[in-house]
Symmetry: C2
């Protein structure tokens, strides 16, 4: 796993929202030796975090992570005492709307983020310090992003066990539309059409139906907020799926099989601390696995 | 589990093709105390079956189960010495084409079947005597099907641990188009479109993409034969999915979620040994769980 070497003393981390994502992040960071403060509107979530070594307080500084539901992100800092020099990041599943609200308010202090982790469960009872281990964590590098603050946010993700994917908000939203938001819509359509086909069809449903519809077992309010919060890229990605469905079936099956069974792995790379180089790494499917003083280490898929 | 009570002495079972499905069935039936004979063109498959208590021979009688790949079904009995009074059934994933070939040749002696079981693995090394435990096993009751032969085939499925779903071949093919063949096409289109979206999208792919594309990891030749062998119903079922995808997303998400999370379970029923009553059970999403002398026991979903 990645073992980042801090270049200067690591700042404290403040986690706002101690549910599944925030609680798991706080617990992981405590385990990694970081100083972690946190707050949640729910006293039970605060108590659970305190029991895991989180200092429960409204006074936050260093890197402040907004881990609240997407619609609550813009107002997440209301009533908290946050150091005006703090770097603020988030974990929301869509990035352009958050950039337009929180990012517009905080300017260069905001770094949008999205860990590709989480399960159908939610709330502080679903906390798991290992939730981010080996997961990808997208971090937005906009033209106005302060690179030093981006690296501070990256250290938090690396300390939680994730690999960091440098992206722009627009690139992120297009990518997750294709690999996360459209799968939710396909699962919904598959389940709804089978429901219309009737009880006999549902009674013959086996593995391929279960796998293909699993994700629509999630809370419909959450799924709807996610796809509607990323409506443009999701509609475009859905159109690309519909084009695929119009291909001759043997071609379609072969193309899908080739993507699904492509070998994983990759080779190690060193990338200088520059926006363009980091974004190129992300576009190549690469990740940052370790931060060093003058560059980051990472890996990219084999060509 | 179902413990069928044989009404008269159970006839021997002959299994043609001792790969994953045939080998598993033969092993399950040996475990259930049935006399099992079997044949496979591959000597290694014959040896593995013999080691599990199957009598390896070309002389088959009683209920003969064709467990060969779909394109090989029509010629599966070539070179074998089969009792002219034997009931013949199969395990193919599409039923109308098999009815038109094998069924046309054998007339009322043929009972089309399809166990909703099997994994991405194949061959005799993937044999698992528990493969059919709790699985649904569709058995075709056409207007010309001899009900006594249908019940003999049903006993074989029940003895393997499955629940039997009485269907017509046309009903079966429409149902599996909706819950199995279309999911394969959706998985292929999702994977192919994500591949076109590029390495960044694939690098952010997580649980919803993995689940939604899992089934297209199967052998593309097998998948293509399956969807093309059931082209009409699959195209119709795909059209119904496309209609769903045109609904407003909040509606679509709610409808899909409701089907995916519908409660299971059901109530016990007794069904007389009549074609119409058995088919009505299947259409209601019900299954036969036990054969008795004058009726079958089963269960149907709660209304």
């Amino acid at each position: 796993m990645s073992l980042p070497v801090p270049t200067t003393e690591a700042p404290p981390v403040g986690v706002v929202g101690l549910g599944q994502l925030g609680g798991s992040l706080a617990a992981a960071l405590v385990g990694a030796g970081r100083e972690v403060r946190g707050w949640d509107v729910d006293p039970a979530a605060r108590e659970a975090a305190a029991a895991r070594g989180v200092r429960v307080t409204r006074e936050l500084a260093g890197v402040v992570v907004l881990a609240v539901p997407l619609p609550a992100t813009a107002a997440a800092l209301d009533g908290l005492d946050v150091d005006p020099a703090a770097t603020v990041t988030d974990v929301g599943s869509v990035k352009e709307p958050v950039l337009a609200s929180v990012g517009a308010a905080l300017g260069g202090r905001f770094v949008g983020g999205h860990p590709m982790a989480g399960t159908e469960r939610s709330g502080h009872a679903a906390t798991d310090p290992g939730l981010f281990r080996g997961a990808r964590w997208a971090l937005c590098l906009e033209p106005g992003t302060d690179l030093r603050r981006w690296l501070r946010a990256a250290e938090v993700a690396l300390d939680a066990g994730a690999e960091v994917v440098p992206v722009t908000a627009a690139e992120h939203d297009a990518a997750v539309a294709a690999v996360s938001h459209v799968p939710h819509l396909l699962a919904a359509a598959l389940a709804a059409a089978a429901g219309e086909a009737g009880p006999l069809a549902l009674s013959l449903a086996a593995g391929s139906f279960r796998d293909g519809t699993r994700v629509i077992g999630s809370d419909p309010a959450f799924v709807t907020a996610m796809v509607e919060g990323n409506a443009g890229p999701t509609a475009a990605a859905l159109d690309r799926v519909l084009v695929q469905l119009g291909r001759p079936w043997p071609e379609l099956v072969a193309a899908g099989h080739a993507v699904r069974t492509a070998p994983g792995g990759g080779r190690a790379v060193r990338v200088p601390l520059e926006r363009a180089a980091l974004l190129a790494l992300g576009r190549a499917g690469g990740t940052v696995t370790r931060r060093l003083a003058a560059f980051v280490e990472g890996r990219v898929p084999e060509a």
